[in-house]
Symmetry: C2
Subunit: 358 residues, 2 copies
Amino acid sequence: MKWSIQVGKFFGIPLKIHITFWLLLLFVAMSAGKRGGGVQGGMQGVLLVLLLFACVVLHELGHSVVAQRLGIRVRDIILLPIGGISQMERIPDEPKSELFISGIGPIISLTLALVFYSLARLFGLNTALPQASLLDGHVLVSLFWINLILGIFNLLPAFPMDGGRVLRALLAMRIEYLQATHIAVSVGQMFAIFFFFYGLFYNFWLAMIGIFIYMGAEGEEHETILRRSLRRIPVGQAIITSFSRLSPDDSLREAMNIACHSLQMDFPVMRDGELIGLLSRDRFVKAMRDHSPDTRISEIMSTDFPTISDTEPLEEAYSRLTEARGSFVPVMHGRTLLGFINLEQIGKYHMLCGLGKR
Amino acid sequence: MKWSIQVGKFFGIPLKIHITFWLLLLFVAMSAGKRGGGVQGGMQGVLLVLLLFACVVLHELGHSVVAQRLGIRVRDIILLPIGGISQMERIPDEPKSELFISGIGPIISLTLALVFYSLARLFGLNTALPQASLLDGHVLVSLFWINLILGIFNLLPAFPMDGGRVLRALLAMRIEYLQATHIAVSVGQMFAIFFFFYGLFYNFWLAMIGIFIYMGAEGEEHETILRRSLRRIPVGQAIITSFSRLSPDDSLREAMNIACHSLQMDFPVMRDGELIGLLSRDRFVKAMRDHSPDTRISEIMSTDFPTISDTEPLEEAYSRLTEARGSFVPVMHGRTLLGFINLEQIGKYHMLCGLGKR
């Protein structure tokens, strides 16, 4: 996500904080300070928000660490004012994995709630729900309630929240995966509609959350359907076969002449009919800014790159492209370059070109 | 803008209301009803919001009607919860036109304020600023204050708001246009920064508005610089020359074979070396869904389309593409097709390919 600043690494997973979260902190400090707390009040407000978000980080780290153990790379964890997101390379479609990864989050939040409840009782505090605002009571009581709410809210079977994923995983152990997804999505959307109308009466933010859940559920269903249908198509069937190649001895100027007067921005580099390098869009753009037009392609191309075989399923190409965030992957038949593929092409093929074959 | 519903036409200009505005209405009705007003209270709340937005529509209609008189087509007016937007085909770079178009909005709002003030005094109402909320006083008093605030706020010289445009127009009558834009943008960004920090203390929404103004001002400066630099480049220099053509006798299947294995989705249709039709991306996609693969291209191509000459400035191509919302324009030298151009190509040419020629 753009505008995120990395603040640390836990278990090898970068923790990033989105700029809007810093704005929230600044705003909390200002308001708390203004409400009579002065500098001290402002700092207390910021401290509480930071503690709350430390709890959210623990919840997300739970998802991420379990995912890593199960062999799924976690790109990063991002903190936003509305909560945390663990960005995984893929959503496991093995039900048991999804069950463990999704279930651990609410378990951590509920455990934290129990810990803060015990601490609060130990100090003889009144643990009733604070009347005015969750932030008004003692910090331990606030942390107890907020982790309790976080745990319970995430346990609701509202896909794509944790509880919805747990529901899908449990269903998928008995029935077909797509069917399980469809049921979990429908249940999630019913919750979303309820949140929306309830929120209209009592809490505008809940109504907004309802809209996000509704759209998120729909998006995940589409992604699931896409992946499943890509599984049946070999990469070779969907590739781009009409494109220009470069030679390592070409100059950047020659590449620019092609790129500036065609639709192509990604180039395979060939010598004697063999693929020896790639000039991807990003590298190309950077080279045009930093290098002279006389620079040879061999000096700017990448030589360490993934390829894919034409017989592998299209889902594999999709995974590699979304994981690596690269712009394209060359498609090989043995040592022969057949063509290349990118995310736009996969989308185009799925939406339009597969039509005749249904 | 997506998710907008057309509710009427004024002076030939479609008035559209974005779905989020309907949500706001629903929310106002619910809250007002819940706050003890019941059904009647809810309806009164909705009525006031509708009256406020009628005033915003008058403000926007002012911009639009003056723009139309000056020969600028207005695509539509869209109402959002944060106000209205008049979507014009282009921003006039003739200072006098911009002065008239931008100046009329605040004048209408201030005139409305005067009208409502007079009416309120006529009925002997207390016209002081309502203490609790702008919506709490008599409807005439609310309308007076809101139009007054709208008029004054829009008169602030904070580009891209009305007052900022007036400032640019006034400057551009004396100094170079790009220089005038730069000054107006800088002044606008100073206001934005002030709104932001003032808002952090007193009103979170003002802080958000500050961010939007800051980014909006930057975006408009870039657009101005882009247009000015496109003015110096002939279309022929930036066109796509490497592409496939179709024949009117080709079948849709043949076009699909090309499109599904290349990067091209827009096609010129040629007969005996002469351009006789276009198959644009949108038409193509629609045809793939609705027609059999045996359909001939001549049945689905468009025969009424704009072209551009290779000697015209690139800015003209940019205007036609943004105005028509078409996906591409064929570039002709006399009756000969040289190539085509689209918005992505103009962006690519401006960002990358023009580099060597600076």
